[in-house]
């Protein structure tokens, strides 16, 4: 009977817990934080003419168009375009539309300036690819008919800025005509289209601005040939370089015919070597020439004479010319002087006078100035003031005004490459008693407020205070390790080569460091960061040392480019040491061994499949030598459809660091038929995953043994047609094959074909199961499949007696060479959305049930309980299965809005989701990144090992008080009754 009551109670508890976690609206921000970014700014247009909100419209390398508040740097609105929709130019038209030209000049869109609503969209179809140019005529005041001229895909199009209507179109279909510039005459009725034909002829078309008819066509040839870009210096003069890069060519094209002049560059800058680049200033009859590590400013007089104005160091950024007043043009210059930045504004016609010269203190962690955009305003004394928007090397965006940085945005965080975590330092000082006493009153007050909140008695102001208190709760953002392991450092590597450490409590930046080794240098022209690994996690005997991370980079984009290694202190961000450029890095394998200073051994595999051991110490080498025979790895050659397995053969013969370099020995290879199958996805288990139990208890006391091996590789291949995007293949010619391959022996454990299905495949591998997402062409829906692998050779170890007596093979070592009998179970379900990323929750001990975290196409992260992806689901589960928690089979996976981890937020441009176990078994930390970053804490099976945030302490107190009161009352009553009994 008692047991039944207990069961009823348990049921009551359990029924309250739905599958997955959910959130109340007032809990937003309690455990999660969300930061919005835009990325590295490419173009910026200020909009400050009218009174009211001053803003700057920017487009970025993450294909974001955003309107920023010029006062604080906040985002008014932001639109994230598709991945292929690269923004070529932006402008503001009519004072109310933002015009963007994107997708190689094929799409023109107009966005409403105040709220970012897309007003119209026009598509230009041309016949060839070309430069894309946009002229919206904001600079010319005479603009009345509001047409926008756009050039893209070899077509010149005039578009009405009010509704996007194409007014006329002129196709320059001639393949050899390479358009360089489009100029509109001040009266706006003549448009000049200028370009090269072949390499040595220059063509100029005069086009009627009203209807697009060619009025005049001029050709001039130049024997020296042209190279690279041309620059428009004024309304009628163009500057170019000749093919040999030794002469400067000026072309003047107005006033009847074309005239070409050339002048040797050496006359202007003296002797020079290396590449020459001409930099546009736009208007102002000036341009800049970058040669000899110097920037030379050159002006052109009306009769075509070139004059050198000034030479400055090339570590400077120049803004476009800005027309100030009555035809005068100002140019902004930002130069780096030690830790300071010099911002100068010069007048085009009168170079020697500075309109403005300011020195600004700049954090040297921001690197060099990359771009500068200037804007002017009228001061109260009617003089001109200037503000500059500065893009730095680390992709951050700063607004500089009156010698100060008004605001800064860390937009490097919009392009995260990789993430790792680090523990915070242990708390050392004891908590003093006085502090507690002082806080007691506060504590009481807080709890009374909370009590009011719980009893729904709180006024709106109180609610605000409660919310603020919850958000602030200093517990969350302390700089020390906590008991539950919620507080950690997220160490993030960005494309700009900067490393950030973010606090998981509130997302603030603890430190940031522009890695010296990931900056452009002589030896390494285009360094990029690749991955980040935990290098040293001190515990036990190396407690005093700080943990450190390993950053792996590469000098160039190609795979065999030399690699760069950098070791960074995780608490301070200082670079301990850096190595490089060294051998190429294709793969990094962290080994499960550490040396006496807790440095983890890492194997770096280069393009020739040679293995390099790090750290390069004798001790590490001796540890490695012991385990050498147990080290295997594999390589995936997707273009050749081959997977190869390797082991170590011997130390390198021709290598400098001979002892730490090893040559590979080919072990096995899996060759997929290249004509019919292409590798589209490979996934392995996470190295740090913990598996709690090897056995799975089924209903009816059945026992299944999971086949758990860290050396399994999931490979998905698709037929060549099916490996492209959706919409290009038909079901009959597409199929998807998935394999489970043992990476030690190359044995294929499981092979499964999905007919009529196609890539993209997103997969996640955990414990003994793989879940993968792909597109089913027949149903034209996305599908998700699960494969679970069980070890059949241990299946007869069910007898308890046998286990007790010891007659079982459970303790026998598992080996890939033992060829165990495995059984795979699989099931497929429909899933509604496209998927961008997929991962699984990790917990400290692996006891808690798992949830899949699915980054959907709408940039949200959905938590889906693994129980929905269970091959044992059937239409009518038996009673026993129901008790076990098997969900009846449905054809599609449910999408419960409350189980969106990101609730009502979006992680724009979502690219990855990372899960890190907390110390508390029930909880896992989730970090998702894209253009935005989002962090939260999840409890896949609810927080069974701690009280939740919304636990009602008030109710507990009330109950206790009531019970005590009841005890006293009943005690008095019983006394009285006893007395009465005695009197009787």
């Amino acid at each position: 009977m008692a047991a039944r009551i207990l069961a009823v109670f348990l049921l009551l508890f359990l029924s309250a817990a739905p599958l997955g976690s959910s959130l109340y609206e007032d809990q937003v921000g309690l455990m999660d934080w969300h930061q919005k970014y835009i990325g590295k700014v490419k173009h910026a247009v200020f909009h400050t003419q009218r009174s009211g909100r001053k803003r700057v419209v920017v487009s970025t390398e993450e294909n974001v168009i955003a309107s920023l508040d010029l006062r604080h740097g906040d985002i008014f609105w932001r639109r994230v375009l598709g991945a292929n929709d690269v923004v070529d130019a932006i402008d503001v038209a009519l004072g109310k539309f933002v015009i963007t030209l994107s997708s190689d000049g094929s799409t023109i869109r107009a966005w409403n300036l105040p709220d970012g609503l897309m007003v119209w969209e026009t598509f230009i179809r041309g016949s060839k690819s070309s430069k894309s140019l946009l002229l919206s005529g904001t600079n010319s005041k005479v603009d009345k008919d509001n047409t926008i001229l756009a050039f893209g895909e070899g077509c010149l199009v005039a578009v009405s800025s009010a509704d996007g209507e194409v007014l006329w179109k002129k196709d320059f279909a001639d393949a050899s005509f390479e358009v360089q510039q489009i100029i509109q005459s001040p009266g706006r009725d003549v448009v000049y289209v200028l370009g090269f034909v072949g390499s040595s002829s220059f063509d100029a078309y005069q086009i009627n601005g009203k209807n697009g008819e060619v009025m005049h066509h001029d050709t001039a040839s130049f024997a020296g040939g042209f190279s690279g870009n041309t620059l428009l210096v004024s309304d009628d003069v163009l500057v170019a370089l000749d093919a040999a890069m030794s002469h400067l060519i000026t072309i003047s094209f107005q006033g009847g015919g074309l005239s070409i002049n050339e002048k040797p560059i050496s006359n202007l800058v003296g002797d020079f070597a290396g590449p020459v680049e001409i930099l546009a200033l736009k208007l102002g009859r000036m341009f800049a020439l970058k040669a000899n590590k110097l920037i030379t400013f050159i002006s052109i007089s009306n009769d075509g004479k070139l004059d050198v104005l000034e030479k400055i160091n090339s570590a400077a950024a120049i803004s476009d010319a800005l027309s100030v007043s009555d035809g005068r043009h100002a140019v902004g210059l930002v130069q780096q002087v030690d830790n300071k930045v010099e911002f100068t504004v010069k007048l085009g016609n009168d170079w020697n006078t500075n309109l403005l010269k300011e020195t600004i203190n700049m954090d040297h962690q921001r690197g060099f100035v990359r771009k500068v955009f200037i804007n002017n305003y009228i001061r109260t004394d009617r003089s001109h003031g200037f503000r500059a928007l500065v893009v730095m090397e680390d992709h951050s965006l700063l607004l500089v005004q009156q010698g100060e940085i008004v605001w800064g945005r860390e937009d490097g965080l919009a392009s995260i490459l990789d993430v790792t975590t680090s523990e915070l330092p242990v708390e050392k000082d004891g908590v003093s008693v006085s502090k507690v006493e002082q806080n007691l009153f506060e504590w009481l007050k807080g709890h009374i407020l909370k009590l009011k909140g719980t009893l729904m008695l709180a006024s709106p102001e109180d609610m605000v205070v409660i919310q603020g208190m919850r958000l602030k709760s200093s517990e969350k953002s302390k700089m020390t390790r906590d008991h539950n392991g919620f507080r950690k450092l997220l160490i993030v590597l960005t494309r700009g080569g900067k490393l950030f450490a973010l606090h998981t409590g509130d997302g603030r930046i603890i430190w940031s460091r522009l890695l010296e080794s990931l900056r452009k240098s002589e030896a390494c022209e285009h360094p990029t960061g690749l991955r980040i690994y935990t290098w040293q996690v001190p515990h036990h005997h190396a407690m005093d040392e700080n943990p450190s991370v390993l950053v792996v980079g590469r000098c160039q984009q190609n795979l065999d480019a030399p690699g760069i290694l950098s070791f960074v202190d995780a608490y301070t961000g200082s670079e301990i040491k850096s190595v490089g450029p060294v051998h190429s890095v294709l793969q990094v394998i962290p080994l499960p061994f550490t040396d006496s200073t807790e440095q983890r051994l890492h194997l770096l595999i280069d393009a020739k499949q040679r293995v390099h051991l790090y750290p390069r110490s004798r001790e590490a080498l001796s540890i490695f030598q012991q385990e050498r025979s147990n080290i295997y790895w594999y390589s995936v050659e997707a273009d050749k459809s081959i997977i190869r397995g390797y082991a170590i053969k011997r130390t390198c013969v021709h290598e400098d660091a001979g002892d730490y370099c090893f040559e590979p020995r080919d072990l096995w290879s899996v060759v997929f038929p290249g004509k019919s199958e292409k590798i589209v996805s490979t996934v392995t288990q996470k190295l740090n995953e913990v598996v709690h139990t090897q056995a799975k208890v089924m209903a009816e006391q059945e026992l299944m043994y999971k086949y758990i091996s860290k050396n399994l590789l999931f490979v998905a291949t698709a037929s060549p047609k099916a490996s492209h995007e959706i919409g290009s293949a038909i079901p009959d010619e597409s199929f998807l094959v998935v394999y489970l391959i043992d990476t030690i022996t190359g044995r294929i454990l499981q092979r499964m074909t999905h007919q009529g299905c196609q890539a993209p495949v997103h997969a996640v591998f955990s414990e003994n199961w793989v879940v993968y997402h792909y597109f089913n062409l027949r149903a034209h829906r996305y599908e998700m499949s699960v494969i679970e692998i069980y070890d059949q050779s241990r299946a007869d170890n069910k007898d308890v007696l046998k286990l007790v007596v010891g007659k079982h093979n459970l303790t026998s070592p598992t080996s890939s060479y033992s060829r165990p009998e495995v059984v795979a179970k699989s099931q497929s379900y429909f899933f509604t959305h496209s998927v961008k990323a997929i991962t699984v929750t990790l917990t400290a001990k692996g006891i808690t049930s798992k949830q899949l975290l699915i980054g959907t196409i709408s940039d949200q992260v959905l938590a889906l309980d693994k129980r929905y992806l269970d091959p044992r689901r059937s239409l009518n589960p038996s009673q026993a299965e129901k008790e076990e928690g098997v969900i009846p089979l449905t054809d599609s996976l449910p999408i419960i809005p409350q189980s969106y981890v990101t609730h009502a937020l979006k992680v724009e441009g979502l690219r990855g989701i990372v899960t890190v176990p907390a110390k508390l078994e029930s909880t896992t930390l989730v970090f998702s990144y894209g253009v935005d970053i989002f962090f939260t804490r999840l409890a896949p099976s609810r927080t069974y090992d701690s009280l939740t945030e919304d636990f009602s302490y008030a109710l507990l107190l009330i109950t206790i008080v009531a019970l005590i009161a009841a005890i006293f009352v009943t005690w008095v009553w019983s006394e009285r009754k006893e007395l009465q009994e005695k009197w009787r």
Partner: protein
């Protein structure tokens, strides 16, 4: 070059005779005589691409099927010769709506309709049309909605495509869109979630999404129902009702029961203790 826009409209006989639908007649400024082109009747006109024009379109939703064909000459730019075809199918489930044809790709035009007013409460940020994205083939192309809810994908090759709508607060079913190569410009669409064919490419959310649990207001019942409340309730019952029950019993019956218990020797806690056992 003169601005010319043509609109082609045709009706196709499908057993039940010709049904000609006039779409946004208000926008027709210069209707030209109808031209016969096989079984296709063409009319050209100049539509205004103004918001007013679009709102007119939206006002006429009763059309069974419509088809818009944009033809651009492959070599010469015939600017926006816009052929509007109104097709009336009666038989098929998933019919034709919007497609434009050009050199090697088609244009898919459609509309997203988000119910305003009802239900959008609680989410101040929701229901904003500017935040809605329309995605073709899982991210191949992304576009946004114009103020009237219309969207277009340009230069889409013939084939079967998937359109998804990403809008916070609403659940949209992905839409399967077939752009036929054999029958230029013919487009069919169906919701993939419930396999419902679409007559027009008008996408409406299947349901609203509520991302937060709703906190129930404080009530006595919730306290009573909570484990502690149950505990207290049980205790109260024991304290107040049990003595009553005992009192109500017949004294003789009581005595009998007590004797019975004594004879059976109910193992009481005291009897289990070693000291009790010694007695």
């Amino acid at each position: 070059m003169k601005r010319t826009e043509q609109s082609l409209r045709y009706t196709r006989a499908q057993g039940c005779g010709e049904i000609a639908q006039r779409r946004h007649a208000a926008a027709l400024h210069h209707p030209l005589p109808a031209v016969h082109l096989g079984d296709v009747r063409l009319t050209s006109h100049r539509p205004h691409r103004s918001p007013a024009y679009r709102s007119t379109i939206s006002s006429i939703e009763s059309i069974l099927a419509m088809m818009e064909l944009e033809r651009w000459g492959p070599s010469k730019f015939l600017p926006t010769s816009r052929l509007l075809i109104v097709l009336a199918f009666v038989s098929c489930l998933s019919c034709v709506f919007v497609a434009g044809r050009s050199a090697d790709g088609y244009t898919i035009n459609g509309r997203v309709k988000i119910p305003t007013g009802a239900g959008a409460k609680g989410f101040g940020l929701l229901g904003k049309i500017s935040d809605v994205k329309v995605i073709l083939n899982g991210g191949q192309k992304v576009t946004f909605l114009r103020p009237d809810g219309y969207f277009s994908f340009y230069n889409v090759p013939a084939g079967t495509h998937l359109i998804e709508v990403a809008a916070i607060g609403y659940f949209f079913s992905p839409v399967r869109v077939d752009v036929s190569a054999r029958n230029p410009g013919k487009v069919q669409a169906a919701l993939t979630e419930n396999r419902r064919g679409l007559i027009e490419l008008v996408l409406e959310p299947l349901r609203e999404e509520q991302y937060y649990e709703i906190r129930e207001p404080f009530s006595i019942m919730s306290v009573v129902k909570s484990p502690m409340g149950l505990m207290m309730g049980f205790m109260l019952i024991v304290v107040f009702l049990m003595p009553k029950l005992v009192e109500n019993m017949d004294p003789e019956e009581m005595r009998r029961a007590q004797e019975e218990m004594r004879s059976q020797g109910v193992p009481s806690l005291s009897s289990l203790l070693p000291s009790a056992a010694r007695n």
